[in-house]
């Protein structure tokens, strides 16, 4: 009974030994997962920072004269390529783990991804190309030669990124008004309205965080509508004095030109 009650040392040691060896493998796995998580979080933070900078850059030139604007968009594409470079690094980290689509670590990367989509879609819009598609975004984040995605862009990431875009468009529309540009606010208003209307039809359970963001979009749309309203009232008062409108617009453009010459 002694034998049975406490198995012989050798057997016990062997189980314990065996377990230790197995768990040392787990330790290595967990340690490397943690380290990978950290690296991805750091990359995601850096992507967020760069994307925010790109958005500021876009705002700076968006309401300038055509020449300055074109230069700004050109520079923006350079900055955007730098951000892609970070995604390529993300892909390297993911591939180490054999997780080539990035599903396992998606939660760590998605904050940066959403911010990037926001900046990319803003750039796309300012280039006069309307709303970027999910496949365009995916294509941007894929190896240009093989077409293999660096990480999968989910429709959630896309929708949430576009939702944030409406906030930037609101800023853009308001800034545009100051330069005497009467067309941009109306055009942005239509665009944001269309986006919001489409989003309104998405059943809320399909994508939970959208509900809160739609409130923000609604506030942005209302601000844009107020800009258009102010514009209409101004146009009404100036209806019989178009020369003043022209004067004011010219004044604004002159300012923009001066900037460009500098």
């Amino acid at each position: 009974m002694v034998e049975v009650a406490s198995p012989s040392p050798i057997v016990t040691m062997s189980r314990k030994d065996h377990l230790s060896r197995t768990f040392e493998a787990y330790r290595a796995e967990i340690d490397s997962d943690n380290e990978r998580r950290e690296r991805l979080i750091i990359l995601s933070r850096s992507i967020t920072q760069l994307s925010k900078k790109l958005i500021f850059h876009l705002h700076r030139g968006a309401t300038s004269s055509p020449g300055a604007r074109a230069k700004m968009l050109n520079d923006a594409r350079t900055k955007e390529r730098e951000i892609r470079e970070q995604f390529r690094k993300v892909n390297e980290v993911l591939r180490e783990d054999g997780d080539d689509q990035g599903w396992r670590w998606h939660r760590q990367v998605s904050p940066g991804l959403e911010e990037y989509i926001e900046s990319l879609s803003f750039l796309h819009y300012l280039e006069g190309k309307g709303l970027i598609t999910l496949s365009d975004v995916q294509a941007a984040l894929s190896d240009q030669e093989t077409g293999d995605p660096w990480l999968v862009v989910t429709p959630e990431d896309y929708v949430l990124g576009i939702s944030d875009l409406t906030g930037e468009l609101m800023r853009y529309a308001t800034n545009a008004l100051s330069t005497g540009d009467h067309e941009t606010p109306l055009s942005v208003c239509r665009f944001v309205r269309d986006v919001k209307a489409k989003f309104d039809r998405i059943p809320p359970f399909l994508i939970k965080p959208l509900a809160k963001k739609q409130e923000e979009t609604t506030r942005s749309l209302e601000k844009i509508e107020r800009v258009c309203y102010a514009l209409r009232l101004r146009l009404l008062e100036f209806a019989d004095r178009p020369e003043i409108l022209r004067q004011m617009a010219k004044r604004a453009l002159d300012e923009a030109d001066r900037e460009e010459i500098d």
Partner: protein, 230 residues
């Protein structure tokens, strides 16, 4: 903005968002399908655990048969796992893990318990995968799910130890205590983050203590052979 430009802009919104929404809906519908395919697996897991619950009230002579029965119940899940595996697109397991992981953990708990009572060892991951028939397909039994499931089993052991004494089985508590000690030592090798696994690991030391207390109680009353130097 010309009317054409206005129309172009509107069309781009319509097309881009329709594309995204369609893909959202497809994803959502797949999630639902997977969740529904997992439901019968939850039922199997509940049955298996409920069978094992009888361990606490029957005499130890019946334990082996009960464990075999539990493993047989587990085996009935294979075809369901095949179904679930077939639903998951290649390489996308982690996208759906949230729906599958908790079920996997319950299976680990049940299987590891039965295996321990039958073989006095901790069943390794690959053996569980093969019992469930998920070795080849898209389903992954991750380290985290395995480790959590095993803790689930250990959490049951102090109760089993105590009820064994109630049914006059003074051998099982010693076997349990040794096992729990080994497992605790193994988990101690891990460096954990402040996550769910860490919290569950923290609970382990109370199980170790509880199982040892039973052995102390028995030793004191001369109900076990005195421990040898191992």
């Amino acid at each position: 903005m010309s009317i054409t430009a206005v129309k172009d802009q509107r069309r781009s919104v319509e097309e881009a968002l329709t594309q995204a929404i369609t893909s959202l809906e497809a994803e959502q519908s797949l999630k639902k399908t997977i969740r529904e395919a997992v439901d019968p697996l939850d039922d199997v897991a509940r049955s298996a655990l409920s069978e094992l619950n009888l361990l606490h009230s029957i005499p130890s002579s019946g334990h082996a048969a009960l464990c075999e029965k539990c493993l047989a119940t587990v085996a009935t899940s294979k075809s369901h796992w095949t179904t679930v595996a077939s639903l998951i697109p290649k390489g996308e397991f982690y996208r759906y893990q949230f729906a599958i992981g908790p079920t996997l953990r319950s299976f680990v708990t049940a299987i590891a318990m039965a295996h321990f009572l039958l073989k006095d060892e901790l069943i390794p991951v690959f053996a569980i995968s093969s019992l469930l028939g998920i070795g080849e397909g898209e389903i992954i039994l991750s380290a985290e799910d395995y480790l959590q499931g095993v803790i689930g089993m250990v959490n049951e052991l102090p109760r089993l130890s105590i009820n064994a004494v109630t049914t006059q089985n003074f051998f099982l508590p010693i076997k349990i205590s040794a096992f729990v000690n080994d497992i605790f030592a193994s988990y101690s090798l891990l460096n954990l983050r402040n996550d769910a696994l860490r919290r569950r690991f923290d609970s382990l030391k109370y199980d170790v203590k509880r199982c040892e207390d039973v052995v102390y109680d028995l030793t004191l009353r001369g109900l076990t052979p005195a421990p040898t130097s191992a």
